[in-house]
Amino acid sequence: MMSEETRKVINLLEPGHTGCAGCGQAIAARLVLKAAGPRVIVANATGCLEVYTTTYPRSSWEVPWIHSLFENAAAVAAGMEVTLKAMGRYEGIKIIAQAGDGGTADIGMGCISGMFERGHDILYVCYDNEGYMNTGYQRSGLTPPGARTTTSPPGRFSYGNRTRKKNMPMIAVAHGVPYVATATVSEPRDLMRKVQKALEIQGPKYLHILVPCVPGWGYESELTVELARLAVETNLFPIFEVENGVITKVKKPKETRPVEDYLRPQRRFAHLFQPGGEKVLEEIRRIAEENSRLEPGPARLFGPSLPE
């Protein structure tokens, strides 16, 4: 077994796993653990992250880690926290539950809501790659409008996904979660600072990280960090922190870029640049515009009104 000193300096999510070249989620998960340190226990949902890091008999995790099911990471983590406390073994341990966007905003919502509501001392991390990428790029509740997925294909009667991204951070805020933040892999220091800040706070914490997906989004693998940056600079993924119901920090892009700069490099949006795509592009611009108005102050639901 590696000493704790060694584990402090190495990657707690080790290289050598089978994630895709340029996987945004692998970058984010490594940064989360780097910030959290070795005294954590991780409950991981089913998904890419679980599959490519733990193909038996190998494991990339240098921390105690469990995968149970797709939709129960929050509940498994809750059971750990309560039990360790009851046994007097909780001191100095941090518990992280993590899942993708499907495991969080769709199938896992019940368990997450229970964990938030009961106030467990857990950091929940959602790695949002905007679809069920592990099973071949199907649509999730966090797939953005217009995106082509294998279950929201463009066609004679379709311009890709019809729905908006479910506003998970605000759903967490509405539960009274004391610390809610968003982050992405283009800003690793900001991401790690948020993990560390979250772990200092008692109670449930929610961190929502945008993680570009090379095969699911359809772009060249060296563009992962660049796309994450463009998502922020186009205002399509706002970066902010909410503390005790108050938005305390919003990261404003120095220079706002047009949404096309973010959409064009991705094959999932290619059809929007064909005849007829303009209507969807217009909607996406509206979302970006609405996100750009996010300001510090009491948190309330933001984003454009639902489509007609």
């Binding site: 077994m1 584990r7 070795p38 005294r39 954590v40 226990i41 409950a43 991981n44 679980e50 599959v51 733990t54 193909t55 038996y56 008999p57 494991s59 995790w61 240098e62 921390v63 105690p64 880690w65 469990i66 995968h67 149970s68 099911l69 939709e71 129960n72 509940a75 498994v76 983590a77 809750a78 059971g79 750990m80 926290e81 309560v82 039990t83 360790l84 406390k85 009851a86 046994m87 073994r89 341990i93 019940g110 368990c111 809501s113 229970g114 509501e117 009961r118």
Partner: protein, 390 residues
């Protein structure tokens, strides 16, 4: 301490004395009184355990899973729809080899929705890798819960104690509640063989492909087979410590020279004993085989108990729709390749319909006069079948 207690309260007392580190459940009839009583114990400080009121049975099962992986003794209870909602986690707990103990207050399964007793819920998840022990009365419920933690922790296999909803959970009976020191002697603190701990990190729940998956299932199966001797031994140890034995895998009653043997699981055995006593007085030689352990299935014990018996009737409160009662099918497997008694399936008491002493006696009489293998529903209302009503 001997007291007149409702079954649910008696079970809660037994669970309390097993010193769980985590109790977590979601309310569902007829399991509710167990969880309510445990809630009172926590509120009064009589039970010092982590206590979580989950957002669903799925959540409750996942939470006890989490408690168990960090080395805690974890307990939950449910019924019917709740058990079915847990199913994905139930299989997962068994596959991860976590010694969770659960009470299933047996209840019928929807549709039509019905809150009364039968055993369709637990029987339907027989293949999940949980040990299933069915109890006959509230004393056996108390004693079996205490045994369950020891069995589970020795084998790292979860145990479900199945007790008939209402018939046991809501019924007052005199029950002997053991002393805490006696329970402590019988059930030492849980020493997990593995647990998630930052001081010794390891990975649980890895992705296992075709190259190794079968071997993991084989291990669980072999340990389940081994569990039969452990269940028997723990029941014997319990008898030594507490002076009460309810059978290990099976129990027999009046099998000596029996022309007909009736078989069942759970609280119906009490009614059956009465029926058999009367039948014996009336001159019909009928015996009873009580199946206490349904998983692992005690093939050898059943085979041995029924040596020389020619006619068997399995009365059960479940059905594998399109076949017959599940226990009946499995009884037949005990005689594979050998001359088998005629084993018939009698489906009775579904959705809480009463099963009377007279109905049981009639099953035995009918089998004595016609031993042919068959599947029959008993206690059906002809007028409802004809559609005369409603």
């Amino acid at each position: 301490m001997r007291a007149i207690l409702e079954g649910s309260k008696a079970v809660a007392e037994a669970v309390r004395m097993c010193r769980p580190n985590l109790v977590c459940a979601y309310p569902i009839t007829p399991q509710t009184h167990i969880v309510e009583e445990l809630s009172h114990m926590v509120a009064d400080g009589r039970l010092e355990a982590g206590f979580v009121l989950a957002e669903s049975e799925f959540g409750a099962a996942s939470i006890v899973l989490g408690g168990s992986v960090v080395g805690g003794r974890a307990y939950t209870a449910t019924s019917s729809q709740g058990l079915l909602l847990m199913v994905e986690v139930i299989f997962n707990i068994a596959g991860l080899r976590l010694p969770v103990v659960m009470t299933c207050a047996n209840r019928a399964v929807s549709a039509p929705i019905n809150i009364w007793n039968d055993q369709q819920d637990a029987v339907s998840i027989r293949d999940s890798g949980w040990i299933q022990l069915y109890v006959e009365d509230n004393q056996e419920a108390v004693d079996t819960h205490i045994q369950a933690f020891r069995i589970a922790e020795e084998l790292m296999i979860p145990v479900m104690v199945c007790m008939d909803g209402y018939v046991l959970t809501h019924t007052m009976e005199p029950v002997d509640i053991p002393e805490q020191e006696e329970v402590d002697r019988f059930l030492p603190p849980y020493r997990p063989k593995y647990r998630l701990d930052p001081d010794d990190p390891f990975t649980m729940g890895a992705m296992v492909g075709p190259d190794a998956y079968m071997e993991t299932r084989y291990h669980v199966h072999m340990d389940m087979m081994e569990a039969r001797s452990v269940i028997q031994r723990v029941a014997d140890d319990y008898a030594q410590a507490f002076g009460r034995h309810h059978g290990g895998l099976v129990e027999t009653y009046d099998l000596e020279g029996a022309d007909v043997v009736l078989v069942s699981m759970g609280s119906l055995l009490g009614t059956m004993r009465e029926a058999v006593d009367e039948l014996r007085k009336e001159g019909l030689k009928v015996g009873i085989l009580k199946v206490r352990c349904f998983r692992p299935f005690p093939k050898e014990a059943i085979h041995d108990a029924l040596q020389g018996i020619e006619v068997v009737g399995v009365i059960e409160k479940d059905i594998s729709l399109g076949l017959e009662g599940t226990l009946c099918s499995e009884m037949r497997a005990a005689f594979c390749g050998e001359e088998s008694p005629n084993i018939s399936s009698f489906i009775m008491g579904l959705g809480g319909r009463d099963i009377t002493v007279e109905e049981i006696k009639q099953v035995a009489r009918d089998l004595a006069s016609n031993p042919a293998c068959r599947v029959e529903f008993r206690g059906l209302k002809e007028e409802l079948l004809r559609g005369d009503e409603g």
